[in-house]
C-alpha cells in the first residue's frame, strides 16, 4: 500500500475509535458553560452572559441531532475532518509553489 494511503486509513481508524474520548466526561478547565459555572461560582459573570452565546454552532459539543452520543461523535469527527481536508486542500493548492 502506498504510504499516503496508509495515513488516510489511519485517520479513518482514529475517527472510528474517537468515542474513547467520551470516556472522560468532565469539561476541560476553563471551558465550562453557564450551567456549570453557576454550580461552581453561584453566578455567571455579566460579560460572559452577554457574549457566550454570540454564535450558535450547528453541532454544538460534537452532537448530531437524533444520532446518539457515540454515533454523533463519530459523524462529527468525519464531517469535521472532511471540512478541514477541503479547506486545507483549497488553501494548499492556492499557495503551493508551481513546479
Amino acid at each position: 500500500m502506498k504510504g499516503i494511503k496508509k495515513l488516510w486509513l489511519g485517520l479513518g481508524l482514529l475517527a472510528l475509535i474517537s468515542p474513547l474520548g467520551l470516556l472522560a466526561t468532565n469539561t476541560a478547565w476553563g471551558e465550562w458553560g453557564s450551567d456549570e459555572l453557576t454550580k461552581l461560582l453561584g453566578y455567571v459573570p455579566a460579560g460572559m452572559v452577554k457574549f457566550s452565546d454570540i454564535w450558535k454552532a450547528p453541532f454544538a459539543d460534537y452532537t448530531i441531532p437524533q444520532a446518539g452520543d457515540k454515533p454523533g461523535y463519530i459523524i462529527s469527527v468525519l464531517v469535521g475532518m472532511a471540512l478541514i481536508v477541503l479547506i486545507t486542500w483549497f488553501i494548499g493548492r492556492l499557495l503551493a509553489r508551481k513546479q
Partner: protein, 232 residues
C-alpha cells in the same frame, strides 16, 4: 485549551486577533515559497489529524479533561508555518461547526494552539536535534521535548490570557465580568493539566505518528526542513 466566547473581554479578543494576523500572513507567504503541490495532501492529512487527536479527551487531576493537539508533529513534518495554517483551519471548523472554542476568542485560540504551540515546539525540537542523526536516540528525545514544550507553552499563554481578565475587567465592586479566575488559579490549573497528562499525550501522539510514518511507509515526498529522514 479552547477558550469559549465570554471568557475573554472583547478588547482582549481584538488584541489576540491582531497578534495572530501578521503570523497568518507571514505563514502564508512562507508556505507559498516552500510548499509544493505534492505536499498539499500532507497538509490536509495532518490538519485533520490535529482535529481528530483533539477529540481524545483525557482526564486530568482536578476533575477536568485535556487533550493533545498534534501541532508540533505538523511543524516537524511540514514546517511551523504550514502547521500554523493547518491548526488554524482545524480550530476554525471546531469553532464554527462544533462550538469548541469561541468565535470572538478564535484569534486567541489560534495564537495559543496554532502559533505558539508549533513554533515553540519546532524551535525546541530544532535546537535539541541539531547534529543528531535522524532516528537516533537524541533525535527521538528532541521530538519528545519539542512536543512537550510546545503544548505547555500554549497552555501557559491560555492561562495568562484567562488569568488577567478579573484583574482588568470587573464591575465597580470588583465582580469579574469575564473569566472569574485570576493568574494564581489559572496558571496552576492549566499547567498541572498540561505538564502531566496532556503533555504526555502530545508526546505519545507525535512520536507514535512519526514512528508509524518512518517505519511503515515511503511517502516519496521531500520535506523542506533540514531533518528529512523523518519521512524517508
Amino acid at each position: 485549551m479552547h477558550i469559549p466566547d465570554g471568557y475573554l473581554s472583547p478588547s482582549t479578543c481584538a488584541v489576540m486577533y491582531a497578534a495572530s494576523a501578521p503570523v497568518w500572513y507571514w505563514s502564508a507567504k512562507k508556505v507559498s515559497k516552500t510548499l509544493t503541490a505534492r505536499m498539499v495532501p500532507l497538509l490536509s492529512i495532518f490538519a485533520a489529524f490535529s482535529f481528530v487527536v483533539m477529540m481524545f479527551n483525557v482526564p486530568v487531576p482536578g476533575g477536568t479533561t485535556a487533550h493533545a493537539v498534534g501541532g508540533t508533529l505538523m511543524a516537524i513534518i511540514l514546517g511551523p508555518w504550514a502547521a500554523a495554517i493547518g491548526v488554524s483551519v482545524a480550530l476554525l471548523v471546531q469553532a464554527i461547526f462544533f462550538g469548541d472554542g469561541g468565535i470572538l476568542s478564535y484569534g486567541a485560540n489560534c495564537f495559543n494552539m496554532a502559533i505558539v504551540l508549533p513554533f515553540v515546539g519546532y524551535f525546541i525540537y530544532w535546537l535539541t536535534s541539531r547534529g543528531a542523526a535522524a532516528g537516533s536516540g537524541r533525535h527521538w528525545f528532541a521530538i519528545a521535548l519539542g512536543s512537550y514544550a510546545g503544548i505547555n507553552a500554549a497552555a501557559l499563554c491560555a492561562a495568562i490570557e484567562l488569568g488577567i481578565q478579573p484583574l482588568l475587567f470587573h464591575t465597580a465592586n470588583g465582580t469579574p465580568l469575564y473569566c472569574p479566575y485570576n493568574l494564581s488559579q489559572t496558571i496552576p490549573a492549566m499547567m498541572i493539566a498540561h505538564l502531566t497528562i496532556a503533555g504526555i499525550a502530545e508526546v505519545i501522539a507525535t512520536e507514535g505518528v512519526l514512528a508509524f510514518t518512518r517505519h511503515s511507509i515511503h511517502l516519496g515526498i521531500k520535506t523542506n526542513i533540514k531533518d528529512e529522514g523523518i519521512i524517508a
